[in-house]
């Protein structure tokens, strides 16, 4: 098991993280293209598919324990208030109510980086937690919440980022509304000089809305104390991160906390951190001596567990007549909500194209709404919409085809670090995507006749998604040749269970049906990171391959000992080891394991370190064909071609699922989804799934998925990069550019709803 401890760096959700981790240094042969593989890359159904479609799959939401009680949370109805008086006496008298927590009786557990507490009498947004009740039934808890009498002191509030930046705005925190008190500034080169070199300069302002994650499965936990040990079934993207956070909040050893998550109905970034509700449930379970289930309702899901911050982006781009970008400036602001989170969105602007003179200035501000959380490609979705819109505008101004303009400014090395990429096949994505959508037939903007106009648009995607260490997987091989892979990662619904079985099956050459996979259990699994940043498959699959390769080596060594023949004369095929040129002399896995007097052979694999000196990125181009009905303003997306470079595909079917999901979420962001705030009362108007409109099946366009990459051998033994976030990043920009091409009027504010189209067409 060759291992060493190294420094490794990769991008996770909102920033680069540097880890010092134990990695595998085992050198194994690169797999080559998927066509040479038997299991990996194939279009296989999920191994958990039966559980899901038959309804037997237990999601965290479905966990029900004997003697369980139900907890419900009272939330602040106002955007900004202080509790003057809270009276729980009447609620406590309700038959079936077992315990009530408020700031007056709950432990003072610091929250939000020490800026607040689990229960804080100073409430900074509608939906902030006021009290939590445990009762015999959920209905009793809901009814009892209404009997908690709270007297609030109403405080001035602000719910719009632009308004919060103005002098004299209501203060969310005493230190002022700009997070950290200053903007984040990035620069390279000299933009003044660059703009002077430009033949054309384009300036424009774009805005994007606040988007709510709204996964199907609500945030929920079921908690159970067994003496001093705490077990938590949580709907989470990171079992270990929840375990450590809860152990910290409750001041108990991490070894005494077990977090389990088997199946999950979506998260999109909103379940990357431990929730207040989990701690409340743990406290209530301790007080009542019974298991507690707590699940947020849809309203709370919309108010209190994250969002994609909105943005206002003022962009300026300079280019020469030949298409060379000479300078670019980006100024933006967006809201964190009531507590710190990131609203920056300039990363694609800084890294997508070759340009030597670049500057960005980003403000994140506090407002009295729920706090933002990472949301499928944080910053990139909104940043790419604005940037790829102004890139189209610039191309048009110099009379270049938008695709040719992008290729003219193709970055051969990472423009921010000047490092080479481990792989970049964006040119191929442009080429194959353009052919699939019929780009050559694209007409000048607004040139169609008749009330329904057709348009084509393109947008480019850059993201990280290379993953990295630490990530481990344990492989147990049984005498009968069946195997069990255990990893501390989690399946968000994306297919993690399935690809792990595929990788093990590929290496050990045993049937998929003989492989069991356990994920999402801190008590039994070796550590893997949280599932975010499109890092799960690229981090975990190499660890699984490493574990399986070690197992194969172990079996060959054991066979060599049994047969008293040097290992290099043995051949491993389909779980059978035979002597080269003597096919009759062979041992099965069962023969070997029996001779070893073991019942379970064990290996633990690790992710290798990322190569140093390289930039690791995913790339892609999406092309949209839309129809715009100028009578109604309706935009119908007819087709999206998604052409991506994401390293190796582990499973074509689950990959396509992810691309479809990403495009649909991108389509929702482009056309229909939006948190609506009432500025006079500071309350959210559409905290439900009717008024917060998400796309329905009817809105799904034809989707063609093209993967131009075979595997990035420089990064790992599987060469896999993530697709989860890349799939969504360019969709809104591609749709917006196609709408412009259809009607000749540019819509600069998302979502592009029919009213905006109609009013824009009216002039």
């Amino acid at each position: 098991m060759p291992r060493k401890i190294v420094k490794s760096k990769y991008f996770f959700e909102e920033d680069f993280i540097e880890t010092i981790g134990e990695v595998s240094t085992e050198k194994v042969k690169d797999w080559g293209p998927n066509s040479q593989l038997k299991v990996v890359g194939k279009s296989l159904s999920r191994i958990d598919g039966y559980d899901k479609v038959s309804g037997t799959a237990k999601f965290s939401f479905d966990i029900s324990l004997p003697n369980m009680v139900y907890a419900k949370t009272l939330r602040c109805p106002l955007p900004h208030a202080k509790i003057k008086k809270i009276d729980i006496s009447e609620a406590k008298k309700v038959p079936g109510v077992l315990a009530v927590l408020t700031y007056e009786n709950a432990p003072k557990i610091p929250w939000y980086y020490g800026m607040s507490f689990l229960f804080d009498p100073h409430l900074r947004y509608e939906g902030d937690e006021v009290a939590c009740i445990a009762a015999e039934t959920e209905q009793i808890a809901v009814d009892a919440l209404k009997l908690i009498h709270v007297e609030y002191e109403e405080l001035p509030f602000v719910v719009d980022a632009g308004a919060a930046m103005k002098p004299g705005a209501a203060k969310v925190h005493d230190a002022g509304n700009v997070v950290r008190g200053e903007p984040q500034i990035y620069k390279r080169g000299d933009i003044e000089k660059g703009f002077k070199q430009a033949d054309v300069v384009v300036e424009d302002t774009f805005s994007t809305q606040v988007e709510i994650h709204n996964p199907t499965e609500p945030h929920c936990s079921v908690v159970n104390w067994d003496g001093s040990r705490l077990t938590i079934w949580d709907s989470t993207q990171g079992v270990f991160s929840v375990r450590d956070a809860i152990a910290g909040y409750l001041k108990m050893p991490a070894s005494k906390v077990r977090v389990i998550k088997k199946y999950m109905g979506g998260a999109f970034g909103s379940k990357l951190e431990a929730g207040k509700y989990t701690v409340m449930a743990a406290l209530l379970a301790r007080e009542t001596g019974r298991p507690v289930r707590i699940a947020l309702d849809r309203r709370a899901m919309n108010l209190a567990v994250g969002n994609r911050p909105g943005s206002v982006q003022k962009l300026k781009v300079g280019a020469k007549k030949d298409g060379t970008l000479t300078a670019m400036n980006h100024y933006s602001y967006g809201a964190a909500g009531a507590y710190p989170s990131g609203a920056g969105c300039s990363r694609p602007f800084r890294t997508l194209y070759k340009c030597f003179n670049v500057r960005s200035e980003e403000y994140t501000v506090f407002i009295n709404t729920g706090r933002g959380r990472p949301f499928r490609a944080p910053g990139h979705v909104q940043g790419t919409f604005a940037f790829e819109s102004i890139i189209d505008e610039t191309a048009e101004k110099i009379g270049m085809d938008p695709l040719a303009f992008r290729i003219k400014n193709y970055a051969e090395v990472d423009p921010a670090s000047n490092r080479p990429y481990t792989g970049k096949l964006l040119r191929q994505a442009y080429k194959r995507g353009a052919a699939a959508i019929g780009w050559q037939d694209r007409k000048p903007a607004g040139s169609g006749s008749g009330p329904v106009k057709t348009g084509l648009g393109v947008a480019t995607q850059i993201w990280w998604g290379g993953g990295g260490p630490p990530a481990y997987a344990t492989l147990k091989l049984n005498r009968d040749g069946s195997a069990h892979v255990i990893a501390g990662s989690q399946d968000l619904g994306t297919g993690t269970y399935t690809f792990i079985a595929q990788v093990a099956a590929e290496v050990l050459e045993i049937p998929m049906e003989k492989i069991q996979v356990t994920l999402g259990d801190t008590a039994v699994a070796p550590y893997c990171g949280s599932s975010g940043g499109s890092t799960t498959a690229p981090s975990v699959s190499p660890a699984v391959r490493d574990a399986a390769e070690q197992m194969k080596t172990k079996l060959i060594s054991a066979a060599a000992a049994v047969l008293e023949i040097p290992g290099n004369q043995l051949v491993y095929k389909n779980g059978i080891i035979s002597v080269k040129n003597k096919p009759d002399k062979k041992l099965t896995i069962a023969n070997i394991v029996r001779r070893m007097r073991e019942r379970v052979l064990l290996t633990t694999g690790a992710r290798n370190a990322n190569p140093s000196g390289y930039a690791i990125n995913t790339f892609g181009a999406q092309f949209a064909r839309v129809e715009v009905d100028t009578y109604t303003g309706r935009i119908s997306v007819k087709k999206i071609v998604a052409a991506h470079d994401i390293g190796r595909v582990l499973n074509r079917k689950t990959l396509e699922n992810q691309v479809h999901g990403g495009i649909l979420q991108g389509l929702g962001f482009a056309l229909i989804e939006e948190r609506v705030m009432d500025e006079f009362t500071g309350k959210m108007l559409n905290a439900n799934l009717y008024d917060y409109k998400m796309p329905a099946i009817y809105n799904v366009p034809e989707i063609e998925v093209i993967i131009v990459s075979e595997g990035d051998a420089k990064i790992s033994n599987t060469g896999v990069k993530g697709i989860g976030e890349p799939a969504m990043i360019p969709t809104p920009a591609a749709i917006a550019n196609a709408v412009y091409n259809a009607i000749g009027v540019r819509l600069k504010s998302l979502p592009i709803t029919p009213d905006k189209v109609l009013m824009a067409l009216q002039g």
């Binding site: 109604t632 559409n686 409109k693 329905a696 029919p754 109609l758």
Partner: protein
């Protein structure tokens, strides 16, 4: 949701007597796809719920050539959508039914319940003590009013959410209403009330009054009808604007017609001027553009809903054009 007593009356008389003087006390259940949401969100908290589906014989459709159509008030929207005579003789009604909500909701929802549903205004449905709930302001006036009314509003600015009501008004339907032991006939045009008349209710029904059936006259063979609904999501959504039209042709010209708009007013909105101008009109693109100039001239859009004017005009023009092509 509050606790309530659930009643299943067997006769209209029994049902009628279960209601007291106030809607707060007792409410009627006619499918429940709206009522359940209202009660779960604490918008309505009646002590008694009377299930009208337990009344026998109110879920039938009968069509008699020459006499017209009769639909029991408890008939499901799905049944209306698939009824062959309605599809053949009254396409406007079948098309409206097919575009209501989702298949599941159409199976449960009834036509009587549909025309009596409460508005979707997010202030009314949300945690706001607005005029319609007995408060003293309409939050939509200065608030987020993109989906609110452009005509007929004040002091409250809801839109009526029903698709069926728009089609029924275009067909000039008559309602049979049970009231204190006997039936009375109410023209659908007299059924809905504007907020200036009653800001708490959307129709004239008094507690204990029950819509029993809906009758529609036989249409002339030269009559064309249709319904077009524009909703933001395209499906499973309420109308931003909808149009129902029933038009009688006479050679190349139009003899007469009725055009009704949904989504623009607190009640289904009969477009008087347009309807009148259809008489004798040659339906060319130019002529339609010309008459649309007079549509909704009295509209007073709010800050965010001016787009409903071109939308309504374009949809009327498109539908009339299609029906008369």
């Amino acid at each position: 949701m509050n606790n309530f007593t659930y009643f299943q009356p067997k006769t209209l008389q029994e049902a009628g007597e279960m209601f007291g003087k106030s809607w707060h006390e007792t409410t009627a259940l006619a499918g429940g796809t709206d009522l359940l949401g209202l009660m779960k969100d604490d918008i309505e908290a009646p002590r008694n719920v009377v299930n009208l589906k337990s009344l026998p014989g109110l879920n039938r459709i009968s069509y008699q050539p020459g006499k017209g159509l009769k639909i029991g008030a408890l008939t499901s929207i799905a049944k209306i959508a698939s009824h062959s005579d309605i599809n053949k003789r009254y396409p406007v009604l079948a098309q409206a039914a097919k575009q209501v909500a989702s298949p599941q909701l159409r199976n449960v929802g009834t036509i009587g319940g549909n025309i009596c549903q409460r508005p979707r205004c997010w202030y009314f449905r949300g945690d706001f003590h607005c005029l319609r709930k007995g408060g003293d302001i309409c939050y939509a006036v200065d608030g987020k009013n993109k989906y609110h009314c452009v005509i007929g509003g004040g002091p409250c600015f809801i839109v009526h959410p029903s698709d069926m009501a728009v089609a029924l008004l275009a067909l000039d339907a008559k309602l049979t209403v049970y009231s204190g032991g006997k039936n009375k006939t109410v023209a659908i045009g007299d059924f809905f009330v504007l907020p200036e008349k009653n800001v708490r209710r959307e129709n004239i029904l008094l507690p204990g009054e029950i819509v029993v059936d809906i009758r529609i006259q036989e249409l002339n063979n030269n009559t064309k009808s249709g319904y077009v609904k524009f909703a933001e999501r395209g499906v499973w959504d309420f109308a931003v604007v909808s149009v129902a039209a029933v038009i009688q042709k006479n050679g190349n010209a139009l003899k007469k017609g009725r055009v009704v708009l949904g989504g623009v007013a607190p009640a289904p909105w009969f477009e008087k001027k347009i309807s009148k101008k259809l008489s004798g009109l040659i339906p060319s693109e130019k002529n339609l553009d010309e008459i649309m100039k007079t549509a909704l001239v009295d509209a007073e859009p709010l800050a965010m809903n001016e787009y409903k004017l071109p939308l309504a005009k374009n949809l009327m023009k498109r539908l009339i054009g299609e029906l008369t092509a």
